[in-house]
Amino acid sequence: MAAELVGTEVAAQTVEIAIKSQLGMKALGAGMAVGLTGIGAGIAEMAIGSAAVGATAENKDVFGLVLILTVIPETIVIFGLVVALVLWFV
């Protein structure tokens, strides 16, 4: 009888640990999705931004155009955020 009770307790604890670690992995995945895409966007924007500032320094008329080009890599972060939200809530 006592052995059966111990077995049930261990099984309950194992399920709880499994659920908690699943949640932890989800949080880690969501964090990585946003963080890594942020780093990727930063790297891409470094090059585009430098070129954009260079082009604007020579010709101020292109400012609007280069501003749009500079923020295009931001879309990667949006993808990352969507993946994070899907992981967390779905």
Partner: protein, 351 residues
């Protein structure tokens, strides 16, 4: 010179600026239009482009061909100094060393002007202070009353040892040509040493310089072939390119044109130069060959700058293209002033 830290941002910034500036240079069709214009019309067109500020500033002091000449020189010098200002780190070092060739040109112009008794103002008009010797230093050199004092005033400059060693001979023979050859040989030796000194980006700089040396040596070979009097090829050769001094001397003694082209073709490795030599099987005038070679060189430099878009190449390509734009406008203006036919002037344009 401190190396650039914090990633490739500064390279991308400056190379993009060079690309935009290059796109603003006068295009082939504009030169074609200018060929059909008179000198005042050309001045007006130039005054509406990048040369506006100089034309406006100088219009009260100069007119006609003099106005164009001085405005072009001032603009070229200003442009080069501006590029030196905006280039970062090692790129600045390479650009500065590349621009040192203008010091040689300026000093030789002053020496030649002085020996021929040309007025100070006239000498000053044709100087292009784009190198390390600034306008103030060049003014000081012009103000000196003898060639020896000019050379003494250059003590401490890189070119001083060659100037001091060669001035005696130059005075004796009444020509600065040997001194000029030696100065350029020293210039290229210095530039190669700098490129090989282990600085980041040095290899790419070296490839650019090697192409320049190859083209110069090939041009010299064609000039030597066209010359009626004998000159020592050893003095004309510039080391550092694909040709060795022995190759150069051997190529110089080949009399048959076809044989010479074939032998040169075997030595040259650049594809564009090889295909250029293939087209030279028929004999052409030296001037035409030189102009074609310059065009080939610029095309090859352009190709190199596209292969390495964030290196020293886009900067050097722009420096070269700007130089040829000024040469073209000067040739156009001078041609129009001398009432030459448009076809004749166009032969002197690098388009």
């Amino acid at each position: 010179m401190p190396a650039i830290t914090g990633g490739p941002g500064p390279y991308i910034y400056v190379c993009t600026r060079m690309r935009v500036r290059k796109a603003k240079l006068i295009q082939k069709d504009e030169y074609q239009r200018m060929l059909n214009m008179s000198l005042p019309e050309i001045t007006r067109i130039i005054g509406e482009t990048a040369y506006k500020q100089e034309i406006d500033e100088l219009a009260t002091s100069f007119k006609g061909i003099d106005l164009i000449e001085v405005a072009l020189s001032w603009n070229l010098a200003k442009e080069y100094q501006k590029i030196l200002e905006i280039t970062p780190g090692t790129l600045k070092q390479f650009t500065r060393s590349y621009l040192r060739r203008w010091d040689i040109q300026n000093v030789l112009t002053i020496l030649r002007g002085k020996t021929q008794g040309i007025k100070h103002g006239k000498i000053k008009e044709i100087l292009i202070p784009a190198g390390s010797l600034g306008r103030a230093m060049l003014d000081k050199l012009i103000a000196e009353d003898s060639v020896d004092r000019i050379i003494e005033a250059l003590r401490g400059e890189r070119m001083y040892p060659v100037l001091a060693a060669k001035i005696g001979e130059a005075k004796e023979i009444g020509s600065f040509s040997k001194m000029e050859n030696e100065l350029y040989r020293q210039f290229y030796a210095d530039v190669i040493a700098e490129a090989k000194s282990g600085i980041k980006g040095g290899e790419l700089y070296l490839s650019f310089i090697r192409l320049d040396i190859d083209v110069m040596n090939i041009k010299t070979l064609f000039r030597l072939r066209a010359d009626t009097f004998e000159e020592d090829p050893h003095e004309m050769f510039i080391a550092g390119g694909v040709l060795t001094v022995n190759d150069f001397v051997r190529l110089n003694v080949i009399k048959d044109h076809g044989e010479f082209i074939d032998a040169l073709r075997m030595k040259v490795k650049q594809k564009t130069l090889v295909s250029f030599l293939d087209e030279l099987k028929e004999k052409k005038k030296v001037h035409d060959i030189e102009m074609s070679l310059t065009r080939v060189q610029l095309d090859q430099m352009e190709r190199m700058s596209k292969l390495h878009p964030f290196s020293v190449h886009p900067i050097l390509v722009y420096l070269e293209k700007k130089k040829y734009e000024v040469f073209n406008l000067r040739a156009l203006a001078r041609g129009k002033e001398s009432k030459l036919a448009s076809e004749r002037i166009s032969e002197h344009l690098v388009m």
